[in-house]
């Protein structure tokens, strides 16, 4: 019985959520009393695997095949299925990235299992491991249990285990060659690209006023623009504001937009779904203005104002103009 951590890499580097999952896996291994292994699929993995050789791991599996050079759901599912059938881990952990979303549910289904997706914590209760997940876009939490048996597939939310250090030690690297045929891979993936050059770099902004769906319509944006001006801040937005075309896409903060770390982040009419929060939780001071006292954005706010943004935002802009910064 062991823990297998499925690592993710891009451009010849391990991705940060993969390191977090590795640390989480080591913690889980210690809790459950199981050795921990890591695996990755791709081509030319030697250098990457080397970076894991001094971590506290039993073994690192480098699954290499020319058909794994570009990620495909079919290729990665088949490659990992083969390894899992061979080494029979008890827990299989993934970072909850877009790539994991794309193939881990399929992989779990091959074993008749359900992935416990987007887990933020776990706890051992009565000898069984309960996983904490968010429901209703972060408004509620739930303790969930996977059906008894193995393997148990789990994906870990980015940031949830960020404070756990990766334990060092030594690991043996083992190359694995999966059984893959070109006909098994049905999708033809193109190279990743960025839509257009960004006209605003929000990551450098010292202050940001971010607006969410609470603003109700493009015609109301004026009040947040005035607040941003009074604060000397950049204007940013949650996804629905950009989806609706009220602000351009390059103002979007979150997992599919920009990651920002300003000194001050003022969230106006934003509920605080995790896909937004991952983009802004590095802000030093967070102010949230929301009419719903239970909105998850308040969980990450230093200062909260519960009320109608259409009253509070103009009042705040006026107060700043009275005492300019």
């Amino acid at each position: 019985m062991s823990v297998l951590v499925v690592m993710e890499h891009r451009g010849g580097e391990w991705r940060r959520p993969a390191w977090e999952t590795l640390a989480a896996g080591q913690q889980l291994g210690a809790t459950a009393g199981m050795p921990v292994c890591a695996a990755a699929a791709g081509t030319g993995l030697e250098k990457l695997a080397e970076q894991l050789a001094d971590k506290r791991l039993e073994r690192v599996y480098a699954i290499e095949h020319e058909l794994l050079g570009a990620y495909t759901a079919d290729g990665f599912t088949a490659a990992l299925e083969g390894l899992i059938r061979q080494i029979r881990p008890y827990y299989v952990l993934f970072p909850h990235t877009y790539q994991t979303r794309d193939f881990a549910p399929k992989l779990a289904a091959r074993f008749g299992r359900v992935l416990v997706s987007d887990v933020v914590a776990w706890r051992l209760e009565g000898g069984r491991l309960g996983f904490v997940r968010q429901l209703f876009q972060g408004k509620l939490n739930a303790d969930v249990y996977a059906a008894e048996g193995e393997p148990t597939f789990v994906s870990v939310q980015a940031g949830a285990f960020a404070s756990v250090p990766v334990a060092t030690g030594s690991a043996e690297v083992q190359r694995v060659t999966p059984q893959l045929e070109p006909t098994m891979i049905r999708a033809r993936p193109g190279a990743p690209f960025q839509e257009s050059r960004r006209s605003v770099d929000l990551s450098a902004a010292e202050r940001i006023v971010a607006v969410g769906r609470g603003i109700k319509g493009q015609q109301n944006l004026k009040i947040v623009e005035e607040l941003a001006e009074a604060l000397g801040a950049e204007l940013a937005a949650s996804r629905p504001v950009c989806d609706n075309g009220w602000l351009p896409m390059d103002r979007q903060v979150g997992s599919s937009g920009q990651v920002v770390a300003p000194k001050l982040y003022v969230a106006v009419g934003i509920s605080g779904a995790i896909q937004h929060v991952v983009g802004m939780k590095g802000a030093r001071t967070v102010v949230a203005i929301n009419k719903d006292r239970e909105a998850p954005i308040f969980e990450v706010a230093d200062y909260g104002i519960v009320g109608d943004l259409f009253e509070i935002v103009p009042a705040l802009a006026a107060a700043l103009r009275k005492a300019p910064i």
Partner: protein
Amino acid sequence: MKILTAIKQVAGRDARLRINPEATWIVEEEDLEFEINEPDAYALEAALELKDRHGGEVVVVSVGPERAGRAIREALAKGADRGIHIETESGAPADPLQTATLLERAAAAEAPDLVLTGLQSDDLGYGQTGVVLAELLGWPHATIIMQIERTAAGLRVKRELEGGWFQYLELPLPAVLTVQSGISKLRYATLMGIKKARTKPVKQIAAAELGPAPPPGLRIARVYAPPPVKQTQFLEGGPAEVAARLVEKLRAEARVL
């Protein structure tokens, strides 16, 4: 092209959620508002646009209790041709393998060219059902899709990656796509559409009629309010008062002005 679109009815975004006495789910009262899961509304829009361009048929399918019938009518009012309501006894949550199993049985009977789902449900947030459905059907899939084009060989789709990156992907048909919010602008139901929807066919199937469900792969043991990560200072008072106090705190305490 025949397109099957899976839509889920979920509690409204602004609905007041109350945890049930067993702490296993929310209370589904009469006055709790429900709506079509946001990404599913976009999946429906994408399906309708494909039909506008290439012709064919859009069939919507929803698994849920009686109330889910309203979500189906809404989709019909927007232009879907037919509905399939796989009726469950309650709104109690199912896991993605259970839901995908029911959807697979409905899809197998319909033999569509394309199945669209949302990328994620707003209530359970598993982000899995479409991918599991593709596996059960034995079809290729692609997730978090922001554009769909028909080609001679099948489909060319634009997949969203993290941090503003994208990728094009070519897929043969039949296939399953999970659609991301924002793929297009949502249309509204017209009065004419609403009227027509009343006469469009909706097939009711009891979930049990579709055969045995797989045993639960996940069990929700306890639902509770999340603990705060930060100590939030709530400022209270009238708008002018809280505004003045916040400016003071940002200046003197947080030192960010």
